[in-house]
Subunit: 586 residues, 2 copies
């Protein structure tokens, strides 16, 4: 019977993992390391040999582990948190990722590894491990200190950027090359997809979950959550993105639901089960012979991770205006790699673009850096004191002045309010445009299939295209109108600020009005040009286009108020979901 | 990538199951039926075809579902509950199972099915569905009525008997025949195994769990629980019992741990996930063509289940002393088959002894009877009133008199106390003897391997046997001494009761003492003969036996007090675990 050998595998995994993790816990090491060591012990490369029979099924379950890990990461992530993390997180995460990818790539080249291996090594080193850091800060009881909060902010930004890296790597691995246009188009499409998925998801998913939750059956809620999770992952895979991205996104969407706490409680045991299998499966792949062979690269990369992350994150935190001690603690806290690195290394293996040694090397570096993490965090404070002593007075005064200068140039009072308003308007315009672009993309994507249906009573393909394009435009109208109104508000604001009576004298009002009218219309024109370019495949002939534009203008004029009402209602629903949650006492 | 088609399967299963179960829930039908229907919809036999790609992996996960279902059944089961359920449950369950196996077998033969199919059909019909009944009584808000409590008692006894049926069927399927000796030896070995597993398990497992629970990590507790569960299942499989039995037993053992509530909370989502897959996998196998072809048997069997269970359980409850109305309600509440039937049907399929139609037929009967369950429970009360009206006065008076007579012969006051004491002593003697027998069995089982080790310095195999047998006897001494002491207490009690001064006159004391001494020694002799027979494979020569007996007697005499102390300590530990739990507020 097939099932018995499978149960045997599970029994061995769980028993060995149980014993080893208990040992690791006693010696205050992260449980994750225990799993990897357990996998190493029962793996085929170390005695006793061959305790696992059905490696294929175990690997399939390990992939489920990745999905649940990312899903739970998404659940813990939340848009509100992202909006709150502030400049430090963005600057530090961005510096870290850029620098680490570059360092990793250079190290790979220096060891004469091929381009793809080097590139993946860079990506592997880019992102720190949320699991390990949370565990270490918990153990050290430092979770509530300021630097810990900054670290959590950096981790949130890293998650989003990491998702982008995975999408980029997949596309690069398939095309085999890196061109700036490609990077741009991948990042653009990815952002578009993420915005659209988040907007539609947050409008729909929490409502579905609230409906199911009314039945007060844990079982049904769990099945619904799993169905949505796997279903969305599948959709994402069909769109040729990674499943990991899908799991994270649907997690982030569900994080906005009122049932978040319950979902977390239900999904946690499932995640623990499958993530244990995932980490054990990592250990299964470790071969001491390979590790020994690559001892030098492993050591070099480990040093690079610790020093590189200390430097990049620390510098990033400092540039964003933190004092030296906090910056150093942020940098040293982030000095390790973990689950994200495994996922990226696994991606390279499944896409068959990286060499087989890369995965074990990544695991070894992760194990070493993880072991060092608690010591690094503890050493940060004494080290900063020592540095302050050793540093020449002048340097430290210059550094101190930088912080003061930074605080002095930050907009305050009315200025800060204005900046916040402008940011908010730009965000709204951006979201609306993303939805419009998505509608046109979808039109282009489904055009051949729609054309088939239309074949019966509309033979000319230009007419078909005209119809599809027109429908897309009609659907987009509420969002376009909303974008137009926001842009108008923005231009009025800018005109008010930019055109002072001292300059324009008695023309002030007129100049302001012209600016306030011209900017939104110009923007709309640009948007239409962009849309035409993006929907080139279904763009109708010019005559038709004019006809459509006239019809659309007519519809817009007639239904202007209705469109605004529809859009407002949707916006309110979206914001309610985001706010409701806040009331939920989280 | 293999994983994607697997994720797709999971997505389809969860999405369809989610939607269908929500619909079923709205129409107040059990979720389990929703899963089966969902499986039927996405199955290969109904349009749209082929929504499942990787049926093998799904089936493997479905087997995990069975394990988790039985494990949770074990968690809800508890020895204390079993001791409490009283005569009604035992009589009703025993009557139900015997009658239903016979009815099922006869129906099978009547349809000209072969012996094995008929036998499995009987077993499939034997056991009612805990899941369905709990759900229906919950929905009808009748959970706390007296007849519901009786039903739960019957279900607990059924679980134990069902486990026995599974073990019996496995052994019959392998040997291909049913002989009374075989049934006897299978049941004997099974009881022995269960007692020993429960005693050792309850001594060890709760302690392990308490140790792990001190780390306050849900993850580690879950992994430990799963490790113990799968590990024990594996052990049970190695002893050639069914995994189902193992899962149930380890669940029953963990039910005695203080961490029960936490374990249940952790394991529930995992069970829900896998049991959903299990029930969907059942639906996958349904083929409308086969169902249509076997429409007549399905209808006949459905009627047989409803009427047979009504009659057997109702009669059983009545015989045990309940009034007619309660008995009828008990009988009609138990009138369906469910998850146990699927497990037995699956057993027949994996052992390849039953025809392929049996499984779908069982599922169809389960679906029909499940649909009827709530209506039957509701109809029981009106029906009992109607029956009372229709019934001739004489018959109802006779029935009423039976109840009164039954109450009159029940031991009361001192008599009841005495009966309880005797029951308790017999139970203790039984457990001790089971442990002794298990020690000798283990000695026989491991003898060849031990003999290999001994080969070096002890060549004669008779000496080797002598050593092993002697060691087994030595290990058994504490239990033998305990059994002897309990037997002595029992005989004193019996002598006190049986030999009255009116009969024996002035010899009363002497006769009593003789009886009190003779009975335990005679019993010990019988026990030794039994042990010799059971350990025939390692029984040493007669001379050696005498030598061993002398040594053992010497050791027993010298260490008498120490043995008693050791045994008492173990007994206290066992009872503490059983009692501790009660304090735990469950």
């Amino acid at each position: 019977m097939h099932a018995i050998s499978f149960i045997q595998d599970l029994a061995v995994i769980m028993l060995v993992a149980g014993v080893v993790t208990i040992l690791f816990h006693r010696f205050k090491q992260p449980v994750v390391l225990g799993y990897i060591v357990a996998g190493f012990i029962i793996g085929p490369h170390t005695p006793p040999f061959g305790l696992i029979h059905d490696e294929q099924t175990i690997k399939t379950l390990a992939e489920l582990g990745v999905i649940f890990l990312m899903f739970c990461l998404g659940l813990e992530f939340s848009l509100r948190k992202l909006f709150k993390v502030g400049a430090t997180a963005f600057i530090a995460a961005f510096m870290e990722i850029t620098l680490m990818i570059w360092i990793g790539y250079e190290i790979g080249r220096w060891f004469d590894w091929n381009t793809m291996d080097s590139l993946f090594l860079g990506a592997i080193l880019a992102i720190s491990s949320t699991t390990i850091i949370v565990k270490a800060l918990n153990d050290l009881k430092m979770k509530n200190e300021r630097f810990a909060q900054l670290i959590f902010g950096v981790l949130i930004v890293e998650d989003i950027l990491g998702i982008g890296i995975i999408a980029l790597l997949s596309s690069i691995a398939v095309s085999g090359s890196v061109s700036p246009e490609e990077v741009f188009s991948t990042v653009g499409k990815l952002s578009l997809f993420m915005i659209v998925a988040l907007v539609i998801g947050i409008l729909l998913v929490p409502r579905v979950l609230a409906y199911v939750a009314r039945f007060e059956s844990n079982e049904m809620l769990l099945i619904t959550v799993l169905g949505l999770c796997f279903g969305f992952c599948l959709l994402v895979v069909k769109l040729e993105y990674s499943m990991v991205l899908g799991a994270f996104l649907i997690g982030a969407i569900m994080a906005e639901s009122r049932q978040l706490l319950k979902i977390e409680r239900l999904i946690e045991p499932v995640r623990d089960l499958f993530s244990a299998i995932f980490f054990v499966a990592i250990g299964l792949m470790l071969d001491p012979v390979i590790l020994w062979e690559y001892a030098l690269p492993i050591l070099v990369i480990t040093c690079a991770v610790v020093l590189g992350k200390m430097l990049s994150c620390g510098l990033g935190a400092f540039i964003a205006g933190n004092d030296g001690r906090t910056s150093l603690r942020v940098g040293m806290g982030l000095s390790q790699i973990g689950e994200f690195s495994f996922i990226i290394a696994a991606l390279g293996m499944t896409l068959q673009v990286t060499s087989s040694f890369l995965y074990p090397v990544a695991v070894a570096v992760s194990v070493l850096t993880t072991l060092m993490t608690p010591y690094l965090i503890r050493a940060a404070d004494p080290l900063s004191l020592k540095l302050a002593q050793v540093m020449p007075k002048r340097v430290s005064r210059v550094l101190g002045m930088y912080g003061e200068w930074l605080r002095s140039i930050q907009p305050q009072g009315q200025g800060a309010l204005l900046a916040a308003m402008i940011r908010k308007i730009l965000l709204q315009v951006g979201v609306n445009l993303a939805l419009v672009i998505a509608i046109f993309f979808a039109g282009g994507y489904f055009a051949p299939r729609i054309a088939e249906y239309l074949q019966g009573w509309m033979i000319k393909s230009s007419w078909q295209h005209g119809l599809i394009w027109g429908a897309a435009l009609l659907l987009s109208l509420p969002f376009l109108i909303a974008a137009y109104r926001k842009l108008k508000a923005l231009s009025m604001l800018l005109a008010e600020m930019g055109v002072k009576p001292e300059m324009a004298g008695r023309h002030t009002q007129r100049v302001r009005r012209i600016i306030a009218e011209v900017i939104p219309i110009l923007s709309l024109l640009v948007i239409f040009l962009l849309l035409s370019a993006l929907s080139a495949s279904i763009l109708p002939t010019n005559e038709l286009l004019i006809g459509i534009a006239v019809v659309a203008a007519g519809v817009a004029a007639v239904l202007w108020r209705w469109f605004i009402r529809v859009h407002t209602r949707m916006q309110v629903a979206l914001l309610e979901t985001l706010d409701n949650h806040k009331e939920g006492g989280h």
